[in-house]
């Protein structure tokens, strides 16, 4: 009689609930391992910079285009409603609040989830399938630190930077639209914008961008690093990285809205 397998999961509740609990445990262990390893040397400074370049600089064209168009479209779509009340002069205030509080961080996070998250998921999954991660493991080169910690650090650092950039480009688009329609001067537009947005707006926007960046990096890495074998796993990991991180970004947006509203009510 062979000994019982210690690898086989033991059924405690039902197989389905067991699997769900085991998955949650896996995710928690993965996140915990990140926080443990990010603090311990050796630090992968050079690889973090390389990943920051991949995440940040390579996303600039897409973020520039989407941010700029979002600024123009949002301004254009808001104008008819405001003009009914003769309040088109409020356009800079409205657009800046919308861009800083919600649209900027959200659009940046969604673009990053699509571009960066899928890229990380597919790359790590393909490395898993072709045994490159195992090769790092057996040569004692700590693949988790080299592949996961660096990528999550890069997304956590770069998504807030990209968000601020997207907001700036969005405001530029909005200004060009307002300038061409209402002949608002640059000075007046800037003064309206900075007269409206508060420190809390910028701080909350940056904070949630950090959370979005961490989520996108972590989800992409988790899906890729734990991908099942086979080429099918690569596609599934990339897809799951995008879908899961987009879903989580929206949930986090909802939570951050509640928190910021609660803070505002105290002010």
């Amino acid at each position: 009689m062979p000994p019982p397998s210690t690898n086989a999961p033991k059924i405690v509740i039902t197989p389905r609930i067991d699997r769900m609990l085991l998955s949650l445990y896996d995710v928690a262990a993965f996140v915990g391992r990140f926080f443990r390893e990010v603090l311990l040397p050796p630090y992968e400074g050079r690889e973090v910079i390389r990943q920051c370049y991949e995440v940040g600089v390579r996303s600039l064209p897409l973020i520039s285009l989407t941010g700029f168009i979002t600024g123009i479209v949002f301004t254009n779509q808001s104008r008819p409603s405001l003009s009914q009340f003769g309040a088109t002069s409020w356009l800079p205030s409205l657009v800046s609040i919308a861009l800083v509080r919600a649209i900027g961080p959200l659009v940046t996070a969604l673009i990053a989830a699509g571009r960066v998250g899928s890229n990380i998921g597919a790359e790590l999954s393909s490395m898993r399938v072709t045994e490159q991660i195992d090769a790092m493991e057996v040569s004692a080169t700590k693949p988790f630190k080299f592949l996961v910690v660096t990528r999550v650090t890069a997304t956590t650092l770069m998504i807030p930077v990209l968000t601020m950039y997207a907001i700036s480009v969005g405001l530029l688009g909005a200004f060009l639209n307002v300038n061409s329609n209402e002949a608002t001067s640059y000075r007046s537009f800037i003064s309206e914008v900075f007269g409206t947005i508060t420190f809390l707006d910028i701080f909350s926007s940056l904070t949630k961008s950090v959370v979005f960046g961490f989520t996108i990096g972590m989800v992409g890495c988790y899906q890729g690093y734990n991908s099942s074998k086979g080429t099918e796993g690569v596609g599934k990991a990339a897809n799951a990285a995008v879908v899961t991180s987009m879903f989580l970004v929206f949930i986090e947006e909802l939570f951050s809205l509640q928190i910021v509203n609660a803070i505002r009510s105290f002010q």
């Binding site: 000994p3 057996v138 080169t141």
Partner: protein
Amino acid sequence: MNNQPKKLAQTAETVIEIEGLYVTFGDNEVLKGVDLMLHRGENLVVLGRSGSGKSVLIKVIVGLLRPDQGRVVVLGQDVIASNDTELDQLRLKVGFSFQSSALYDSMTVRENLEFPLVRNVRNLSRADINRAVEEALDDVGLKQAINQVPSELSGGQRKRIGIARTLMLKPEIMLYDEPTAGLDPITCTEINNLINDVQERRGASSIIITHDLTCAKEVGDRVAMLFDGQFQRVGTFDEVFATDDKRVQQFYHYNFTE
């Protein structure tokens, strides 16, 4: 082809000792009480059908897979009881050559070879690193490939670069997973010669997983046949195949009688 099986390595020191190893994936019992010893300086070939658990065995040796039960002692260290740091220390002494070569496809050959070295050996100068890379490439006869990326290499070249990368840390034990799979006979001979060279020049002890009997005969001091989750026959090449066991004979005739 060298038709004379190799002589048994003359050393009694054991570098790998496995006792009662059981590995199960779901309902599939892959290894059912495997016992194995590898002596210093010896080349041990593990033969067996596809899916018989040969690769699983060497993955357990380096701690990539955790067995359900059993004892695995490598260079005096209990692999199963080791923590991550202890495992990493042990892995510096054990090289693993993957069936797929597992070269890092985003890096050049030079970067692939440098990777384990610069991340494990401190205070190396650029000149030391370059020298080590060039020596390793020289050993596998691929100096000209130094700036190429893996996608530009042939299957045989990738295998040799994979072995060169493994040799960068000067391991005491080498584990080869299907080193000649999918290669033409000439390249197979080159790989076999390389495995023998690693044994003779570097004094490494090796486990070679294969179902290529020519490779087994050319490189193996001992051969172990894995069937039904256990080693059914262990000995020199001739001893292992001197049997009426149908499965063993099928193995032999497919390779040598056709």
